[in-house]
């Protein structure tokens, strides 16, 4: 039973209840930093780290924090981790920090994190909360990188530019370019491009879900995803 539910947690986090594409949480950083794939990856990993740490911590303390102060306690936990991650990034990924800097503190206000703390970690065991944090964080990262890659490719005709900021000088060669002739579609880089891109991603996901449910009539998790969409 337990193996099945872990698997379900991962599938929910990555796909069925993807925080960015289904729950539509954390849109502010999502839309703001996804002008390149690497920026998306940077913020995604920072969010993943904070989400996992906060899920585990909240799960550890879930039995002895009184309900009337649980939300302030969660906020303190999350804010402390975010500040720690911000300082660490400033120290060890300085170049990336200079680009993402102002969006890192905003992770505190990412509803996805307090949402998982309240809805999942405060009611579940430590190991399950850890898996949930990793899965939800990966799902969020995945959406950020996909959206970033889409916008970067359309807007600048490159992919993984500035990879060296994150992985060191050796990774500079990772950059893929469509060639100098490609002028780029400015709209994709500008803020409206983020909204359009996210819209396309959600539409694509719904299309895939529809295909899946057609081929497998009795896809029970589909119903769950749909209700999430309707209420979210």
């Amino acid at each position: 039973m337990s193996a099945q539910s872990y698997r379900q947690l991962v599938i929910d986090g990555l796909w069925n209840n993807n925080q960015a594409m289904v729950a539509l949480l954390g849109l502010c950083p999502l839309l703001a930093v996804t002008n390149t794939a690497i920026n998306g990856l940077g913020l995604g990993l920072a969010t993943l780290l904070v989400l996992t740490l906060s899920n585990v911590t909240v799960s550890i303390i879930r039995n002895w924090v009184r309900p009337e102060v649980r939300l302030p306690v969660f906020v303190i936990v999350i804010a402390s981790f975010v500040t720690a991650v911000e300082l660490s990034m400033n120290a060890w990924f300085y170049e990336l920090y200079k680009i993402l800097g102002i969006f890192i503190p905003l992770i505190v206000t990412n509803c996805a994190i307090i949402g998982r703390a309240e809805a999942f970690a405060s009611k579940n065991a430590i190991s399950r909360s850890l898996v949930d944090g990793l899965a939800m964080g990966s799902g969020f990262t995945l959406a950020l990188v996909t959206l970033g890659a889409m916008r970067e490719l359309l807007g600048m005709g490159t992919l993984f530019s500035q990879a060296n900021l994150m992985f060191g000088e050796a990774a500079g060669g990772l950059t893929i370019s469509l060639g100098d002739d490609f002028k780029g579609m400015l709209l994709a880089i500008l803020p409206p491009g983020a909204f359009l891109g996210l819209g396309f991603l959600i539409a694509l996901k719904n299309l895939i879900d529809k295909r899946l449910s057609h081929s497998r009539k009795a896809a029970t998790h589909q119903a769950a995803a749909n209700t999430e969409l309707a209420t979210g």
């Binding site: 002008n35 002895w64 924090v65 009184r66 009337e68 102060v69 302030p72 306690v73 303190i76 936990v77 804010a79 402390s80 500040t83 720690a84 300082l87 660490s88 400033n90 120290a91 060890w92 300085y94 200079k98 807007g155 780029g184 400015l186 880089i189 500008l190």
Partner: protein, 209 residues
């Protein structure tokens, strides 16, 4: 009895506040030196791109003085880094602000050599339109290199405009405001240096040179 749960809740909350602050303080303590080094090195890298490291022998990052002229430098107080060799002035790197960028102020580094020519300029921070005005960035186009070696006599005061206004400097297709405001700000910095450059260096070298 009714007070009791409230006090416990308050204690728990303050416990978390204290441990949260403790953790942040610990991380801050571990990282603050690395962060300071990072910032120093990033600044040094920027400065030595404009004032070659071999042309100076002082610690330029710490050889900083302040220029006060809001009209010409865009800000009440502007840091100026002074490059010296054997105690003699080599170049001054100004950090002026362009007040009239297309979407907000633009922060510059402007290196002026002792003879009044430009060692080069760089855009440090801006909010110009991606794809149009952001060609002022070193990574996006060569435009910013066009200032190197220019001075108030080359091209001359009348030439310190974009081509559309009858000057010497290129504008970008679709973005004239950004280059125009930067050209004006660099010219103003050079004018400030012409009038006050000597006194800036005197403050650093401790007397007339």
């Amino acid at each position: 009895m009714t007070k009791h749960p409230v006090i416990i809740a308050g204690l728990i909350l303050s416990l978390f506040a204290v441990s949260g602050v403790g953790m942040v303080a610990l991380v801050h303590d571990q990282t603050k030196e690395i962060i300071a080094t990072n910032e120093r090195e990033a600044l040094l890298k920027l400065l030595t791109a404009l004032v070659p490291a071999e042309s100076i022998d002082n610690d330029i990052v710490n050889a900083v003085t302040v220029a006060r002229d809001a009209d010409r430098l865009g800000k009440e107080e502007v840091d100026v880094y002074l490059g010296l060799k054997e105690g003699k002035p080599v170049a001054a790197v100004f950090t002026p602000v362009v007040p009239d960028g297309y979407s907000g102020p633009i922060k510059l580094l402007v290196a002026v050599r002792i003879d009044g020519s430009l060692g080069g300029i760089r855009v440090v921070a801006h909010k110009e339109t991606p794809g149009l005005g952001d060609k002022v960035e070193e990574q996006k186009s060569d435009w910013i290199y066009g200032f190197t070696d220019k001075s108030l006599t080359n091209p001359g005061l009348a030439g310190w405009k974009v081509k559309r206004d009858g000057g010497e400097f290129d504008q970008f297709t679709g973005a004239t405001v950004t280059p125009r405001s930067i050209v004006k700000a660099v010219k103003n910095t050079l004018l400030y240096y012409r009038d006050h450059g000597n006194s800036l260096f005197q403050s650093a070298t401790g007397g007339p040179t």
